[in-house]
Amino acid sequence: MPFYNLIIRDLKLAFFSSTNFLFAASFLILILILVPFVFGTNVGSFSILFTGFIWISIALSILLTLDRVFNSDYEDGNLDTIILTQQSLELIVCSKFISHWIANCIPIIIVIPIAGLLFEVGIQDILNIILNVSLGSPGMVFIGSAISALTLGSKRAGIYKTIIIVPLYIPFIIFGSNQESGLVLLGLSMTAFVFSLFTSIYSLRLYAE
């Protein structure tokens, strides 16, 4: 299936690039290692902070690698090649969403239990966090990808992306730090999916011109 091939291609590219799977995971670990030095080791409320750090590292890891979703392929011309081999832009956009999520969020999700145990977070809490992250992070990937599709080819896109994307991430982070709102996150992700899909398709069509 060409669809899976596109995903595999993106994952390979992600793996070969300097900001690969290890980058995403190391992000979380790095933050968590620095925390005790910042707040001191006797903080009893680490488990509260823990959830927050996970969401922040997810947001950062998505934001910092956004260029890989559409921009790099647009710059070097591969996007033209891909668009011509596939009949529908929907499939291209979906494959981009999926591969970006796998490359940036799965590593963090894998690291969560290990990091959680190091910080003495209860197993029930860890499972809850993993559930929330799995339901919420796709939505964040969708939004980030859609906004970067909008700004293809622009040299000033950096600040713009942050200023648009970060406010849109706030609902995810608010509900993400609340333990029992997995379903709200799922709803948010679904909404984000529909809007991001249409925005991405529309802007790819225009920028292909």
Binding site: L150, T151, G153, A157, Y160, I163, L206, Y207
Partner: protein, 233 residues
């Protein structure tokens, strides 16, 4: 489609630009005289309440500017006439400035009154979102290279952001917020004394004149910008 009415209004207003500039300066002078020198302090807050004379009109006009921006965007979607984009583009930076004034003065007032510079309650947060909406609108035009796409995206952004306006207005009634409910909209109870209402109204009037003046200047610039673009392309 030719829209004569907006053009006509704008043209006659532009001819009156010098008058607007003079009127703005005069009303501001009178307004500030009343606000600072010729009005009583509050029985509770003392003199720090005078910040209200700057804060409240700025917040009102920040909201009305956004409504104007959103209505222009809607009009653009209906008529597809670029003049509405020029309206929205002209008002956006002004609205952003008023929002910033409201946020900063509110923060300065909040410290002595509430005991904090900032609180993440619904009113303050939604006002901050308004500021971001303005910035996002401005940056959309600057960042998106495809002008056709930029027009559509910014118009969509302007319209979607319109939801925020009633949220700001009624946040103090719908939810528990640290920010107090509106002072002026209540006609029944004696919320504000006439000696304080007069400078507030004067300042509001001055702000409105200021807004119109700025808008006319900005609109002129946008038109020139368009001409330059047309010549250079």
């Amino acid at each position: 489609m030719h829209l004569k009415l907006p053009n006509k209004i704008i043209d006659s207003l532009r001819r009156m630009l010098p008058a607007f500039i003079v009127a703005t300066i005069v009303t501001f002078t009178v307004g500030i005289y009343y606000a600072i020198l010729n009005s009583p302090p509050d029985y509770l807050q003392g003199d720090s309440m005078r910040i209200m004379y700057v804060h409240v009109p700025a917040a009102w006009l920040a909201l009305s500017s956004y409504s104007f921006l959103a209505l222009s965007c809607i009009a653009w979607f209906i008529f597809r006439n670029p003049i509405f984009n020029l309206f929205a583009k002209s008002i956006a930076p002004i609205g952003a400035t008023f929002t910033l004034i409201a946020l900063v003065t509110g923060s300065i007032w909040g410290k002595p009154t509430w005991g904090t510079w900032w609180a993440w309650d619904a009113r303050l947060t939604s006002m901050l979102i308004l500021f971001f909406l303005y910035i996002a609108y401005i940056m959309t035009w600057q960042t998106i290279t495809n002008k056709d796409l930029a027009a559509k995206i910014s118009a969509a952004l302007g319209i979607i952001g319109f939801i925020n306006i009633p949220i700001i207005k009624f946040s103090v009634d719908w939810w528990n917020t640290l920010h107090q409910p509106a002072t002026i909209s209540k006609l029944s109870a004696p919320s504000i004394h006439i000696s304080m209402l007069t400078p507030l109204m004067l300042m509001t009037f001055a702000y409105v004149l200021f807004l119109i003046t700025l808008f006319l200047i900005r609109y002129k610039i946008e038109i020139l910008d368009q001409k330059i673009l047309r010549v250079s392309s």
